[in-house]
């Protein structure tokens, strides 16, 4: 047992010494992620993109009066860059990136509506990014909803004003009906009933008109509204939201890269031949390497987390012990993935390529910037085979929600790690045992 400890210590001290001998590397590993997050926060202070908007109207004077009221917007996402009457010029500005949107105002819009037809706003953009296109579509929808609302409001206000004179007529009709009722000879019960009914109908119509006039036009047009409130009651900045995912992605990538180069380098240097002859087993070798990198990565994770939480003020609502547990399991599993790469790669370059490929897969499939719920169900198998997917879910849960980590996530990630460790052990045993061919 004592010799076992001495043997695994050989790798712990060797790997740590090799890493610590490169202070510039360590500095990059610690400060790099911190700098990335800091610059990310600086680079994306706004949550929504502001769109510079040019209105296109063949006759700018048509935008006066009612149309001016309809087309004006309070949407902070749209910044008015003026009205352009020449369509080609407006679209050229769009192509030259001098404006972000060109909204073509429908010609004779009010006339078209009066003729029982929809008047169409055409919104031109010059985007290729599907997310930006979706954003513009959403802004355009809100803009048209607003325009529709304004038109309805104007019509409603007009109706309310007209209802005033109708109401006056109704009042005099009610008065006349009352007088008529008094003039009916006693005994003519049928006539009395009819006049009573008429008076009642007129009074009801009058009351309804009163109600109609007493309501605000904006309430009549938009009777319902919606407010969104998060359970945590906090709106995170992009830096705060992405910080846990960035930490996870970085730790996974560093672990995989370190581990993937570790064994492949030794195989290529020829020292594996010495391991085969020496009294050291594949298990001892693997345990030694795992522990050395785990220690180093935990230290690294500690410094990165401290910088994120105490310098960048990334929220940490959860329990630290859960955070540590989640990070350790994430590191263990990522190292297992790295050692697997190391054992199946023939060269350093191949190992680096596999690691980069995995990083790319993690960016796209781990829920780093695309919500996993949007993913096609069968593809989720791929997503859940990446340690980063578990890591991001766990750290977002702990840091941003202050919630406990669902045991299934921890167990799933640990299971992958242990499974890969066993596979690595078998592969390394094969590499370290007698060659038969």
């Amino acid at each position: 047992m004592f010799k076992f400890l001495i043997r695994i210590s050989s790798f712990i001290s060797k790997e740590l010494t090799e890493i610590l001998r490169q202070p510039r590397l360590i500095l990059t590993l610690v400060l790099g992620p911190f700098l990335v997050m800091f610059l990310f926060g600086l680079g994306y202070p706004e949550q929504n993109r502001v769109l510079r908007t040019t209105y296109l109207a063949e006759d700018p004077s048509s935008l006066q009066g009612d149309m001016k009221v309809i087309t004006e917007t309070n949407n902070p996402a749209l910044v008015n860059q003026g009205v352009e009457s020449n369509k080609e010029l407006a679209l050229a500005k769009l192509a030259l990136n001098q404006t972000d949107l060109v909204i073509e105002i429908p010609r004779d819009a009010l006339e078209t509506v009066r003729n029982n037809e929809q008047a169409k706003f055409v919104v031109y953009h010059n985007e290729v990014d599907p997310f930006q296109i979706a954003y513009i579509q959403s802004v355009a929808r809100i803009y048209v909803d607003e325009a529709n609302g304004r038109l309805l409001q104007s019509v409603t206000e007009q109706g309310q004003a007209e209802a005033g004179s109708v109401q006056t007529s109704l009042e005099s009709a009610i008065e006349r009906t009352r007088r008529l009722k008094q003039a009916i000879p006693p005994g003519d019960s049928e006539a009395a009933t009819q006049v009573n009914d008429l008076e009642k109908d007129l009074t009801t119509a009058h009351d309804q008109l009163s109600t109609f006039r007493s309501l605000g036009s904006s309430v009549l047009v938009n009777p319902f509204n919606a407010d969104t409130t998060s359970l945590s009651n906090i709106i995170f900045t992009p830096t705060e939201f992405f910080a846990p995912a960035v930490i996870v992605l970085l730790l996974q990538h560093l672990s995989i890269t370190f581990a993937s180069l570790s064994i492949v380098r030794e195989r290529r240097s020829g020292i594996m031949e010495l391991f085969k002859v020496a009294p050291i087993t594949a298990f001892e070798t693997l345990i030694g390497k795992f522990l050395s990198y785990l220690l180093f990565e935990m230290l690294l994770a500690g410094v990165i987390t401290a910088l994120a939480v105490w310098v960048l003020k990334v929220p940490m609502f959860g329990r630290w012990e859960e955070y540590v547990l989640a990070v350790v399991i994430l590191l263990f599993t990522s190292l297992a993935v790295g050692f697997l790469i190391s054992l199946i790669s023939d060269t350093d370059t191949q190992a680096v390529q596999y690691s980069m490929l995995l990083l790319l897969a993690s960016i796209f499939f781990s829920g780093f910037f695309l919500d996993l719920r949007l993913m096609w169900e069968p593809m989720k198998v791929l997503a859940w085979s990446l340690p980063a997917t578990y890591g991001i879910q766990m750290l977002q849960n702990i840091m941003l929600r202050g919630a406990s980590v669902p045991p299934l996530l921890l167990q799933g990630l640990a299971l992958i790690g242990v499974g890969l460790f066993l596979v690595n052990w078998l592969l390394l045993r094969r590499r370290m045992e007698v060659q038969y061919s």
Partner: protein, 323 residues
């Protein structure tokens, strides 16, 4: 294959019988049979690619022989236990230690993976002293010269004080002075009771060995003592005679008829000849007498030790002739 319990009783630490190793169609080692006595230096000599390293790999358990039997320290190397492995030191042909670690850290690493006790500072210092690297222990291995790297590798091979050392071309690519020093180390190790199996391309290094195996094209041509090799190469020991008078044809014929003289007398010039004899020390007085009988006055008579390069070339030529 021998059972691991089948101990070699005659004191040989290596006993190989008809070892063959093939890689696909290529026969790397062909029916190799050799024994290495305990406490000896066994030189395994041959040109590059002749199968020396493959043989070492079979003896250390890295490769399983295609056929044949082998025991090393009484065990089948492919079934070595941890404790068996602890008795073996293996110096790989190339420098395989870590260039980013210092001399001391590399040695410490080797000591750890051999399971050497943590109280090993003095032992490691002694080893560095032995290979004359004590003053360089803080240097990065990557910054060492080729010779220093080989010495560090040697120290790492001995870190667990193994009984049997397999040294694969320890002197390759280093200068003659350092090579000489290495052989001094090996002699010291032998004096301490270690057995050394040393492969080399330098035929001249055969002189430092107790036994020499000559390897050529995957075949072990012979295993002999260095003197035995010379005898085998030339048919006996060589005595060179220089006379004051002309050595005539009939003089040479008469000398060739002597019972202890083998083969034809080789003429160097009119007054100088070389004679192959069984044993130079006993033959020389008799040759002096015989020359006197022929009326020849001997100016000088000496035993010639041809360089091992010549010995090796002669043996290979003979092998090729036989083929």
């Amino acid at each position: 294959m021998n059972n691991t319990k089948n101990k070699n009783l005659n004191g040989d630490v290596v006993d190989a019988q008809n070892l063959t190793k093939t890689f696909g169609e290529e026969v790397a080692v062909d029916s190799l049979t050799l024994q290495v006595p305990r406490g000896s230096i066994f030189g395994f000599i041959g040109p590059s690619g002749c199968g020396k390293t493959t043989t070492v790999r079979m003896l250390t358990g890295v490769h399983k022989p295609t056929s044949g039997q082998v025991t090393v320290l009484g065990k089948n190397p492919t079934r070595f236990s941890k404790s068996d492995r602890g008795k073996i030191g293996y110096l790989i042909q190339n420098f395989v230690l870590y260039p980013e670690l210092t001399v001391w850290e590399n040695l410490n690493f080797a000591a750890s993976f051999y399971g050497v006790s943590l109280f090993r500072g003095r032992h490691l210092n002694k080893l560095l002293d032995f290979v004359e690297l004590k003053g360089d222990k803080r240097k990065l291995a990557g910054a060492l010269s080729g010779g220093m790297k080989r010495r560090l590798s040697l120290a790492a091979t001995m870190v667990h004080n193994p009984e049997l050392l397999f040294l694969d071309e320890p002197t390759a690519g280093i200068d003659p002075l350092l090579r000489r020093k290495f052989w001094d180390y090996f002699k010291e190790l032998q004096a301490e009771g270690h057995t050394l199996f040393v492969t080399t391309q330098y035929v001249g290094e055969a002189a430092y060995c107790d036994l020499v195996g000559i390897m050529y094209q995957g075949k072990l041509l012979m295993v002999e003592t260095p003197d035995g090799l010379r005898k085998k190469a030339f048919g006996g020991e060589i005595v060179r005679i220089k006379t004051a008078e002309l050595i005539r044809h009939e003089n040479r014929n008469n000398l060739e008829r002597l019972s202890f003289v083998h083969a034809k007398v080789r003429v160097i010039d009119d007054q100088e000849i070389e004679v192959i004899v069984d044993e130079a020390s006993t033959a020389m007085p008799q040759l002096v007498e015989a020359c006197k009988g022929e009326g020849l006055t001997i100016e000088t008579i000496e035993e010639i030790l041809p360089p091992f390069d010549d010995v090796f070339v002669r043996l290979i030529e003979r092998e090729n002739d036989n083929v």
